[in-house]
């Protein structure tokens, strides 16, 4: 085979090898779980939740979330049961604070990041260019573009607001039935670790391997849905 043809084939071969290597090494990086000093998590007790929206309202106020978008929504399903004993179910729609977060992996600038000290997944709105890759990558579809900052936005466990002042997240503070518990998974004496040990909990879409840190206690009654 003459020289120019050989060069051409060598180039093609090197490309394939390069891509396989890139995919392999990234697969490993993506599988890692971070060891941080503090690992914040949240628990939503759907039995206690009455769907009053106090959490979502306070979140909007404290974090200055513009109208039309939301970091937190309470999703209502139902009614279940027969009149007059009808009831609804409420579940929380907000960032699941994935340990292995797709949004962080895909962000081209590192604007979507996980804080090394607290494990909180957050957004650096200055670094964000608004490519919306993270919005497409988040399997829980909870990210949005903030119409004011034009950057990606989402629940950050009130990292920039309440936590900085040593307070509990705004939604947790606002809840009248104490349906929300927030705390450090690494602290065996924390309220959240105790609550997680005492209750059967579930998390959304665990099969995707995202390791979400938003835990939920399932409401007892419900419709039968196969």
């Amino acid at each position: 085979m003459d020289k120019s043809k050989r060069q051409f084939l060598q180039g093609s071969g090197a490309m394939i090898a390069g891509i396989s290597l890139y995919v392999l090494t990234n697969g490993e990086v993506a599988g890692e779980q971070q060891k941080s000093a503090v690992k914040y998590a949240m628990l939503h007790d759907e039995n206690k939740c009455i769907g009053c929206n106090a959490c979502a309202d306070n979140c909007r106020k404290v974090n200055q979330v513009p109208e039309g978008v939301a970091r937190l929504e309470i999703i209502r399903t139902g009614p279940f049961g027969e009149y007059p004993n009808q009831y609804y179910h409420f579940t929380r729609k907000s960032c699941e604070q994935c340990e292995d977060s797709p949004c962080v992996h895909v962000c081209p600038t590192g604007a979507a990041f996980k804080d090394e000290n607290t494990g909180i997944v957050s957004v650096n709105s200055w670094k964000c260019v608004g490519c919306q890759y993270c919005i497409a990558a988040c399997p829980y579809h909870i990210r949005f573009i903030n119409p004011v900052t034009k950057a990606a936005d989402k629940c950050d466990f009130c990292r920039e607001t309440q936590l900085k002042q040593g307070k509990q997240p705004a939604c947790v503070e606002a809840c009248p039935t104490k349906a929300l518990v927030f705390g450090d998974l690494n602290d065996p004496n924390s309220e959240i670790v105790k609550a997680l040990e005492e209750n059967p909990v579930y998390r959304n879409k665990r099969d995707l391997g995202t390791h979400p840190k938003l835990f939920r206690i399932q409401a007892k009654q419900g419709g039968i849905n196969v």
């Binding site: 090197a14 600038t109 260019v129 608004g130 490519c131």
Partner: protein
């Protein structure tokens, strides 16, 4: 549900065109190198097909990059992608590849047209000749890297979408291969169409070579599409639902069966076989076939992007 607006739709048609343009550029450069190294050698610059590829590739890659930038919510902050890269992000790696690719693309084009450039500069800017002689001495390296980068660009457009775990149809290992193959055929089609428009001989050696590669390329592309959807069906769950939603009787189903399988793949395959068998290559045949391929690839990008986002995990 409207085909262009539905819940959970994040990326719209500009991204489909971005993916298309990046692919055409990489594909066109791939075939240009092929034509030069396998048949044309030093005469490459005289060929209408190589000329066409050398015009199409820079225009499409810059158009693609332009679309990507204007589609950002903060287009003026684009430089941050270059400064703060993140190697786990396919987009970040892709932008790096794109930029290096552009450098080598221009170097290679300059080498192809070296006789013309040298001639023009001989009396006006004699120092350019030294520069081009230096470039010429590393021609092998430049060509090799260009081929690697062109193929990487084609595959990258597929990896970009397959990194989205929320959409079972997109999170599919066959997608990068499918997009690479269709990027190559779109590059071939663009070079052929541009070539005959630029008075290249429709029965020339270039057309013969490209057609010889296109036939197996289309066949493998069909196999890849088949594997793509069979994989989804066998995975079951939401992946199966996604396949049914995409291929069913909706708008995107029609786009797939008529636009992609019939117009984009079957017609060009039949025409290529016909032209090879009868050795009748006329302007209209070559141009018509290439147009069909290009339409097919544009539709494929839109189909995968939109149908892919219709079903969530």
């Amino acid at each position: 549900m409207s085909p262009f607006h539905f819940e959970h739709l994040v990326w719209h048609w500009p991204i489909a065109f971005y993916l298309f343009f990046a692919g055409v550029s990489g594909g066109a450069m791939f075939f240009a190198v092929l034509l030069k190294n396998f048949i044309l050698r030093g005469d490459a610059y005289k060929s209408g097909f190589v000329q066409a590829a050398c015009i199409v590739a820079p225009i499409t890659v810059m158009a693609g990059l332009g679309i990507l930038v204007t589609d950002l919510t903060k287009p003026l902050h684009f430089w941050k992608i270059m400064v703060f890269y993140n190697l786990t992000s396919v987009m970040s790696v892709g932008v790096i590849i794109l930029c290096i690719y552009m450098v080598f693309m221009f170097l290679w084009i300059a080498l192809v047209f070296r006789p013309v450039i040298d001639e023009w500069c001989r009396t006006r800017f004699p120092w350019v000749l030294k520069l081009s002689a230096f470039l010429s001495s590393s021609e092998a390296t430049i060509t090799g890297l260009l081929v690697i980068l062109a193929l990487a660009l084609g595959a990258y457009t597929g990896f970009l979408l397959s990194a989205l775990p929320g959409y079972p149809m997109l999170k599919n290992p066959v997608l990068p291969i499918l997009f690479l193959l269709s990027a190559l055929s779109s590059g071939a089609a663009a070079s052929l169409l541009g070539g005959v428009l630029m008075k290249g001989n429709p029965d020339g050696r270039e057309v013969h070579l490209i057609h010889k590669i296109e036939i197996p390329l289309i066949l493998v592309e069909m196999v890849a599409i088949f594997t793509f959807f069979l994989g989804l069906v066998l995975t079951g769950g939401q992946a199966k639902v996604a396949a049914a939603n995409a291929l069913g009787f909706g708008f995107w189903g029609v786009v797939f069966w008529v636009g992609i399988l019939l117009v984009g793949l079957s017609v060009p395959l039949a025409m290529n076989l016909f032209m090879t068998a009868t050795a009748k290559r006329r302007f209209a045949y070559v141009a018509g076939t290439a147009t069909c391929s290009l339409i097919g690839v544009i539709l494929l990008r839109h189909f995968i992007l939109y149908a892919g986002q219709m079903t969530i995990a």
